[in-house]
Subunit: 390 residues, 2 copies
């Protein structure tokens, strides 16, 4: 077990009607004027934004609105948000949406008190504690951004997608009402489930030996997600199934599932290049193609770990051939994603052999350095994994 630090200060309000408490809880914490940040029309048309505004009004908390966050949020809107914060003396950023909205809100909160351009943080990864407090009304369980320390933002001009980790941008408040997820489109539900499952895989497969307390917790979440996924796909308005997925989605990325481990994150890096280049690709769908390919490419480094995963999560009986057991576990992973309606090949997403070279130079976050920890990947390894995913 490696030395680590961990903090997750988010105050969760979970359950039916959670969003009705937004105003009161923010006022309790001294909020006077919030930036209300959201995505497309659905949050408005569903009445959610109206209910949140009513709750703010009732508590005497003023708000400035900024909608229009797109999937794979872009730094341009973030800059608008930063300008609004400065102009209106915003003291909290309130995100209503999924991972894209929350990540955009985090970037705004980081930029609000900064004199330079907010993209600097995504470029240099420099730490800062001078971050506006963030509250979240979660509508899409997937990215785990409601409690995580990470934000991922795209920069269209640079054709880049970059992550910025900072404990100071972990949301201080998260309102999680599973009922808000009943009307999520099937594809978005499935992509979200894939994303959260992959957050666990990234933490489970690394170069650290067994850490039973963390591994068992991680595996318990994998089993939960795998068991609840078909329930929400078949019965989108099953409250308990949606609640289990929503809470699991937070736990998958809050950090406990990797405590004492190095974690890997190579596959997320590979996928970020994919959806930066092809913005129509949903992050979860990209991961559904990339993760099994990564697994196939690297499993020889430690097939026993893959066999253990297969046994615990998919109930695979050991055959005596650990390599075969590892491959079966990878097949089960791909089959699980496929069962949700996710693509299994990049070809299904319109990506071809000729696109691979376009992604290699944009693996900029790694500046050409080897990345990942289960196996250190070179740019040639990256090419091979993209090829396996085709």
């Amino acid at each position: 077990m490696e030395n680590f630090e961990f903090v997750s200060p988010t105050h969760f309000v979970f359950g039916r009607g959670a969003e009705e408490q937004v105003g009161a809880k923010l006022a309790e914490r001294g909020a006077r004027r919030v930036l209300l940040h959201y995505g497309g029309r659905s949050a408005v048309e569903s009445g959610l934004i109206g209910r949140v505004k009513a709750s703010l009004d009732a508590a005497g908390v003023a708000c400035v609105e900024l909608g229009g966050v797109r999937p794979n949020p872009e730094v341009g809107l973030v800059r608008q948000g930063v300008a609004l914060c400065k102009e209106h003396g915003i003291d909290w950023v309130l995100a209503v949406g999924g991972g894209s909205v929350i990540d955009s809100a985090k970037a705004i909160a980081v930029g609000a008190h900064y004199a330079g351009d907010v993209w600097d943080f995504f470029e240099t990864k420099q730490p800062t504690d001078d971050v506006l407090p963030i509250a979240v009304v979660l509508t899409i369980p997937a990215a785990g951004s409601e409690a995580s320390k990470n934000a991922v933002v795209s920069n269209d001009a640079l054709q880049m997608k970059s992550g910025y980790p900072n404990n100071a941008q972990r949301p201080k408040l998260a309102f999680m009402n599973p009922e808000l997820t009943f009307t999520l489109p099937e594809y978005q539900t499935a992509a979200g489930i894939t994303d959260m499952f992959c957050h666990l895989l990234e933490r489970f497969f690394d170069d650290v030996g067994a850490v039973p307390v963390t591994d068992n917790l991680n595996l318990s979440l994998m089993k939960t997600v795998r068991a609840e996924a078909p329930r929400v796909m078949v019965e989108p308005d099953n409250y308990d199934a949606r609640a289990n997925i929503m809470w699991a989605g937070m736990l998958c990325h809050q950090g406990l599932a990797g405590a004492g481990r190095h974690e890997d994150w190579a596959t997320h890096g590979l996928e970020h290049e994919l959806s930066a280049l092809f913005p129509h690709i949903t992050h979860g769908a990209g991961l559904a193609c990339m993760f099994p390919a990564w697994m196939e490419y690297v499993h020889g480094e430690n097939p026993t770990r893959f066999a253990f995963y297969g046994r615990e999560v998919f109930g695979l009986a050991p055959t005596g051939d650990v390599d075969a057991d590892a491959l079966s576990a990878i097949d089960e992973t791909r089959a699980f994603f496929a069962s949700l309606g996710m693509p299994t090949t990049l070809a299904e997403l319109g990506v071809g052999e000729g696109d691979i070279e376009k992604m290699i130079p944009t693996l900029r976050a790694n500046k050409g350095e080897p990345f990942g920890s289960f196996k250190k990947l070179t740019m040639d390894d990256a090419r091979e994994i993209y090829r396996l995913a085709l």
Copy 2:
């Protein structure tokens, strides 16, 4: 899944040498003058207190010492601590020890800015946010007080032991170095493991149906504790085994293992009366006797839940008779505690039939009202459970 709120703001510094960072981390957070609170001589003689003081000195943080916390900490010393805080303008309370020291520190932190007697909070359970921030150097994995919202303090004059829950007294910083636990006496290690396992049982058995995400997480911790326990008993200086137990002990009581459940806590209530009346009884040892007795008495309410627990934690194959499966799970629980060297009957602790009536009127926390949730217990039920534990 029931509605719930959850917050666990503790910043954990985990691993070898964690305690060397005490001064720097406290200074970063603005601490100027801390109350250094600890128990008996062992913390001083081991050199730990000296190292912590050196770390404070090096960071320019002043300290006022208050040692002498006993097991089942008493309100008298808490009052001394409160007086010291007021006299010296203390701004953080730093507990170095296990659950007793941390609970005493919490009580001091709650009393420090209060004009009345600190016992009021344990009597009335009134909430307050005006609590000094608390830091912890953990030396005994057991109570989970390093992250929990609870403090339990005894009042000898009233022959009472009372709990006070308050999110505001969750420690802000916890330093957890598994090496500090290598020299724990065998009995204390075992009692600690029993205590943490019982924190999971209290959350697993209640009147709420299945909550898979929480139940799976809870069961994963039960499995971890059960598997790592024999390793630390046989090899007390096995770093990884100690690390797994230490981190698990925190997770067992921080709250996630009960999210969305009502939880029960009847058995802790019964045990608190026992160790209030017989201060020589270690909390974990009392629980080792009381929990299987409670289980025997109540399992008929939902034998399926017990059979599920037996299957998942002890690998018991279903026999087709769910009641028999439930009883086997209870036998395994008792055998697990016994395997650690814990007592299995109150008789072994010197408690006899004649003592039962002395405990009934002191079940004061419940003021004679039925308590627990898996099965609502009356005072007659309580008598019967004590009798089964004899």
